[in-house]
Amino acid sequence: MSHLLEVQDLKVKFALRFGDLTAIDGISFTLDKGERLGIVGESGAGKSVTGFAIINLLSKPGFIAEGKVLFKGQDLSTLPGREMRKIRGNRISMIFQDPMMTLNPVFTIGTQMVETLKAHRNITTQEAEKIALEKLRKVHIPSPEKRLAQYPHEFSGGMRQRIIIAISLLNDPAIIIADEPTTALDVTIQAEIMDLLQELCQEEEMGLILITHDLGVVSQVTEKIAVMYAGKIIETGDTQTVVTDPSHPYTRGLIKSLPGALKTGEKLYQIPGMMPNLTAIPPGCAFNPRCNLKDEICLKEVPLLKRTEKGIMAACHMI
């Protein structure tokens, strides 16, 4: 059976003055109808770039150097602009990190919703407003009729993120890519937004790619997880298995550094060192300078993803 979305050996590079910088170094994953995938990693691991690469919206000087992004069998990475526009906001929607910055401050919510519908369907403003109201209700915005005429600055951050989610739902997409949708919000609002996303995906059978650095959120919402480090996926598989019993030393470090398992007053665990700069990735395994299990081979050979006995994939020589 073919997958809804299949990313094959994707490489993203940034053309810089001193040469090309590889931000994403050959990642592959799949997403099926209604499936929820979490992509986790530190800042700069390539999570957001992955999201933008899927909808072919990398900001310059970024570009897809190799690989394929197959959506229902169609390769999005080579699709001409006009065809790609028909997919964006229609079949694949994206939710951004900071709801305070995502809506255009000089247009009403109604305008910004109606234009999204009109860009993809041949409908009247009245019909579009009806759909907009229905979606606003879906994300639990109170008295949506009044809201359409309001401007973004009249809403709180949490409300804005709900509106952005409603915008992303307008054309009933097959996939939603959520790039750290709760990072800029209060903790209480975070939980609400995550619950809402999960609920909507289950109801509509939408695929969700949740990009975040919050392992707690990923384990609550997603079924599948991909852990990224320095532009590569280093561990991927069933979320529960990976989170409760991680294989890769990096994932283990991440789980260990969560405050949940500790008693009050106990010091939080920290993975020693920092993720390498993309311009200076060490030879062999990119994680080797920080790894406590490293051996000769780790300094020479890049480990490939291989299936472990737990049924997940991990890229480590020591497993």
Binding site: G89, L103, N104, E115, T116, A119, I167
Partner: protein, 327 residues
């Protein structure tokens, strides 16, 4: 919105008061009205009497209040050269200057908007590089030099355009006050060179301002989100980015229109344009103090009025300002 307009208008009135005070202080402290009025044969005793009669010995504040009272009735003193109220002289000259500024403003808007947007969208294209290079040249060239060059090329060498005067005009209101050059071919021809040279100082500035604002807006998250919504590029550029680009540009335009009134002094002199700027220079030569002060106050008022109108316009296009005004 109403409260916002009221507030802006109050501020404008306050600024006008300050301008009038400065104007009056200059008039009060520089020059001696008695000497301007009387001949050499008048004795010091008679001079003192005239001074007392005119209230020139009253305290400054009392004189200022009297000046304000007269000003409120449209009396800003007499121009001794024209032997007419100074305000009347200026109002008679105002239409010519207004048409010049309007024409230059029109050129600025019509040229800078498309060029600014284009150079922002296609910064590497040949036309963009050419525009940016040319605008650097334009910024660094003084207006009188531009004007003289234009006259030399289009007036003296090519004989395409007239280089002085206003040409054939049309009486707009039937009372002989507003003679407009916008409605005859000859009048329009006469407008071209002065308007182009007046616009030449501001034009490069606006192209650069619009370009840099637009480039900044294009990098924002909401523009990226607009792309992610799958909107057509024209809608993203001309609706989403353009309106946000306009916000700061509108404010600057208001200020620059006011400054352009000041620059008309140079342009009008070079082109023998019978407006307020030309009159101002003549008044300086004749030390016609009342006329000079009145010019200062009138141009100050125009500046304040234009800026108030622009601020209100700004409130109309920027929704966040409207809310602040409602509170």
């Amino acid at each position: 919105m109403f409260a916002f307009i009221i507030r802006r208008t109050t501020q404008a009135i306050f600024v006008m008061l300050v301008i009038s005070m400065i104007g009056f202080a200059i008039k009060n402290k520089i020059g001696d009205p008695v000497r301007d009025m009387v001949g050499e044969r008048v004795t010091p005793a008679e001079r003192a009497e005239i001074r007392e009669q005119l209230g020139l010995n009253d305290p400054f504040t009392k004189q200022y209040v009297r000046f304000l009272k007269n000003a409120a009735h449209g009396d800003l003193g007499l121009s001794f050269f024209y032997k007419k109220p100074a305000l009347e002289v200026i109002i008679a000259k105002a239409p010519a200057t207004m048409e010049l500024v309007f024409g230059a403003g029109l050129i600025i808007v019509l040229v800078s908007l498309p060029l600014g947007v284009y150079t922002a969208l296609r910064p590497r294209s040949f036309l963009s590089r050419f525009t940016m290079g040319f605008s650097t040249l334009g910024v660094s060239m003084p207006v009188f030099l531009t004007a003289i060059m234009l006259i030399y090329i289009f007036g003296v060498q090519l004989h395409w355009l007239p280089s002085y005067g206003r040409g054939e005009t049309v009486d707009l209101f039937g009372n002989g006050w507003w003679q407009s050059g916008f409605f005859t071919l000859d009048g329009l021809k006469h407008l071209i060179l002065p308007c182009v040279s007046l616009a030449s100082i501001m034009l490069p500035l606006f192209i650069r301002l619009i370009r840099s604002e637009m480039m900044e807006v294009l990098e924002t998250e909401y523009i990226k989100f607009a792309w992610a919504k799958g909107l057509p590029p024209m809608r993203i550029w001309m609706v989403h980015a353009f309106k946000n680009t306009l916000l700061p540009v509108v404010t600057v335009f208001g200020v620059q229109i006011g400054i352009m009134f000041a620059f008309t002094i140079l342009t009008e002199t070079v082109f023998q344009w019978q407006g307020m700027g030309y009159m101002f220079l003549e008044a300086v030569e004749r030390s016609d103090i009342s006329l000079l002060i009145t010019y200062l106050i009138v141009v100050g008022s125009i500046f304040v009025i234009v800026n108030t109108v622009v601020d209100i316009l700004y409130g109309l296009i920027n929704p966040t300002v409207r809310i602040a005004g409602r509170k």
